[in-house]
Amino acid sequence: MIIEHNSQIPRHALYWILAAVILVILPQMMRMPLWISFIAILCVTWRFCISWGWVSYPSRLTRNVVVVFTLIVSASQIRALGIGLDSAASLLALGFVFKLIEMHQKRDIYVMLSLCFIMSMVAFLYDQSVLSTLYVSTVLLVAVGALVAVNRSPFEQRAASTAKLAVLIAAQALPLAVILFAVFPRIAPLWAVPLQNNVSSTGVSDEMSPGDIAQLGRSGDLAFRVQFSSHLPPLHENLYWRGLVLDDFDGTTWSRTRASSSYGSATQLQNFQYNWENRVLAEGEPLQYNVIMEATQQPWIFGLHLAQPIENNLYQSRNFEIFNNGIITQRISYDLLSFQTNKTDLFLLDSQRSRNTSLPDTGNPESREFARQLRASVDSDLDYVYQVLAHFQQNPFFYTLNPRTLDQDRVDNFLFSTREGFCEHYASSFAFLMRAAGIPSRVVVGYQGAEYNPFEDYLMVYQYNAHAWNEVWLEGEGWVRFDPTAAVSPERIRLGPEAALRDDPAFMEEALFSSMRFGGFGGVMNSLRLRFDAIEYEWNRRVVNYDQDTQFELFEQLFGEVTEQKVISLLVFLGGLAIVIIALLIVGVGGSSRRNPLESLYLRIAEELDKAGLGRLSGEGPHNYRDRVSAQRPELGELMATVTSAYVRQSYEVDASALARQRQDIKQMRMALNQLRFKLSNLSRFMPRN
């Protein structure tokens, strides 16, 4: 028993808190400005030094300086990063570490740990992957461990037992949390807060200069995952994930004409409304599929041509590109319908024709001349297209991620001298040759191909699948897709970049831990990688994307028509059930696992003796019991003395020496029990039963 006077933080509890703080700060450090990370490290070190008594808590002056400093930093942060997630998260982290050094009372611990939970939530704003979830779960466990450590007895400080209790509490809390997660009605956002962060955009962009897509080819990051709901996915060579249409060429860069289809604001949404029926001729059963796309910090999404969005927050531009309503800052999921047999824009407006045939006034004379001659030698536009493709096929063009750099008349240079390039070189020069011959054509950027994941039956599209191809307008056909890269490197289209670029050292060179680099194809590593991705995919589909709609669908599947009453009664029923079960577990059984082993051994010895008619009387003290047994059976005297002294020492004597002997006493007791069994069995053998 101790008398408590202060509310100081116990040392062992402090280590738990510091562990939680460090775990929370670590992932945040990767996203914060470097100097905030530096301050964070400084503060954590300072706190360690305080706990070792090397330095003292900050003085009032220091604290005031810190407050002023933070105010200045806040202002500069907001100026530099804007009011957004990044600046808010950085400031939160800054306040968090400052609070750490002035934490000297038990009360401060709770403020600290509450901030830990809020920082964990911030981590989820950035990343909701399986790995991130496991990490935050660890943080949660350590934070609960810190709470336990603060509140537990000073005589029970072993980290293992604290950890055990923390895990037990978390495990008991988990079922109820899962039920709440599944059943609790999701509420629509109270006010719209666009999440802004300064993460640079990834993936295919709305401009294409030579080398842009080759850059993506170096990355092994995932772009999106696709699952087809009813039909088999199309063949690999037909997997053209159409993104943006680039129809403006300045001699170097292809870019999207923004005026033709602005995006990002709801008022301009009206501009994209057009008469689908008049421009589209779609046949056959559409493919339905779900895409889960990684954050790109861009508004556009990808789908098979010709895609029709079936969700409210997606819309389509004049060129049949699909946009999300807002920048994609988090992994999103969307459903699309695609008509594989289609014709679009059978009648081309003059404005469209002129835009899609315009070229810079000067430059690339050789190519222009080549186009003019070739077009003159064939009868139709289609024949011309085939001739150009044949030109790519028959001449020594190379498909590589590391082409020689081009200067000045880039198209001329590429077509007639270097003849090595990545898809953007082929798409760019192809479109140039078309336009030079007066045929409307444009560049389309997106992804081509995918990797099939057999574990959950879906497709994975990586950044290295990024691709550029062309669409050419032909009389009576509308816009038709042509891919000059296929003429140069058919395996790129048929098998994917993994096959086509297997020997290219630049391929996926940025993907440090890509198993493909270690394991190659068909290896165990590859299978493992697919399996992990399948878990990630399922996690996303079932947990991360669990929203109002999915919840509604689930209820409808399980309980038929969904009413508010039903949902509430289900919530109450399931939640109540979980609480009752946990309550029975905790209160009913009450930590049976922690039963004193010595106690149970003593009871077992008494039981054994009871068989020989020497049971312990109710209310009989251990010493009296020993004396009675020794008197009746002197041969058991020594054994009883050992057992009794061990039992009494462990049960009644409150000191450290008894605790130190605990293990030894248990061992002695166990031996005594065995001896006793042996002796009693011998005894009963020789004694006549009465």
Partner: protein
């Protein structure tokens, strides 16, 4: 408003609860007598869970919902664990050693558990609001981890002489997470005898055969026979000064009287004539303590009670008790 509610809680409701709690020697804590509410830190915990929930709604972050729900679940589990950290606990009163007025009383109690249970970080105290005092007692912390029973002492100041009844005992716990507080009020049958505070008096005239004469009206206490003279010590009565010896120039001497009738010492109420009741009791208490260190038997005469001379610890305690209880059950 919060303060108002708190005040109401402190005064009216708790008083009601306290009155309902019966006085007993042993009590087993059950649902009936365990109260449970979130602690201040628990409110902070719930507030942050709420914040996370709002953020989850606004940013539509599924796992932030999960985090908020997990925190709420942890809170509910903490309620159960904290409740369980009192449930089934057996508290019994143990005898408490008498103390002197003004000293700290360590009320002894025993906490015991069933074989399958453990209890950790139990805080015991006498809260201020259950008494008329400004400050409550210090908090004693007890665990029942490795042993089935343990003793605890909760301290209280013995401000008045007599029988001190222990104030309402509060047992509370924040274990395991500190976000929930479970507590109970127990009125255990715990009493402590409070002796008067001893006040030092010069002892060499008492009990060594010397007789006090003081200003008292009658000298019943063994003062019949003249025994001899001794050196004057400051504080001796002027009545006993051997003036003849002074006249002879032998210096200040004091006459000593011995009671040859029975060689026993009596502590008389009137030994300290002129003092107030409590002051007399304090002085008598000191005398009892001092005399009981010697071998000589001594008795006590106070209004309404006469204890025949005796010896030993038991005798001493009897006398002290008599002093403590003087004036009825006024303690």
């Amino acid at each position: 408003m919060l303060i108002g509610v708190k005040k109401l809680w402190r005064t009216k409701i708790q008083a009601l609860i306290l009155e309902r709690a019966p006085v007993c020697d042993e009590i087993t804590l059950r649902q009936r007598n365990i109260f449970i509410l979130p602690s201040r830190n628990g409110l902070l915990f719930l507030l942050s869970a709420g914040l996370i929930f709002v953020a989850a709604i606004n940013y539509a972050v599924s796992l932030a919902f999960g985090l908020a729900f997990m925190m709420i679940s942890i809170f509910i589990v903490a309620v159960l664990h904290t409740f369980n950290n009192l449930n089934g606990l057996v508290i019994s009163a143990l005898p408490t050693k008498p103390v002197f007025q003004g000293d700290e009383v360590g009320f002894n109690l025993q906490l015991s558990r069933g074989a399958l249970r453990t209890y950790e970080s139990l805080q015991l105290d006498f809260p201020a609001f259950a008494t008329s005092l400004e400050r409550g007692s210090a908090v004693s912390t007890v665990d029942l981890l490795h042993r089935d029973r343990d003793q605890a002492q909760v301290f209280w100041t013995a401000s008045r002489r007599g029988v001190l009844t222990a104030p309402v005992l509060r047992i509370q716990t924040y274990f395991p997470l500190g976000i929930v507080r479970a507590w109970t009020f127990v009125r255990l049958n715990m009493h402590c005898l409070v002796y008067p505070r001893p006040t030092k008096v010069v002892m060499d005239k008492i009990g060594a055969g010397a007789r006090e004469c003081e200003e008292s009206a009658d000298f019943r206490v063994g003062n019949q026979e003249y025994y001899g003279i001794r050196e004057y010590v400051e504080g001796d009565s002027m009545h006993r000064v051997a003036w003849k010896a002074v006249a002879r120039g032998q210096g200040m001497k004091v006459k000593q009287f011995v009671d040859y009738q029975d060689n026993q010492t009596w502590l008389d109420w009137d030994l300290f004539y002129g003092f107030g009741v409590e002051e007399r009791l304090s002085r008598l208490c000191y005398c009892v303590l001092e005399l009981s260190k010697r071998d000589d038997p001594f008795g006590l005469k106070i209004p309404g009670l006469e204890v025949q001379p005796g010896q030993g610890l038991e005798h001493r305690n009897r006398l002290l008790k008599a002093l403590a209880m003087f004036g009825g059950e006024q303690g």
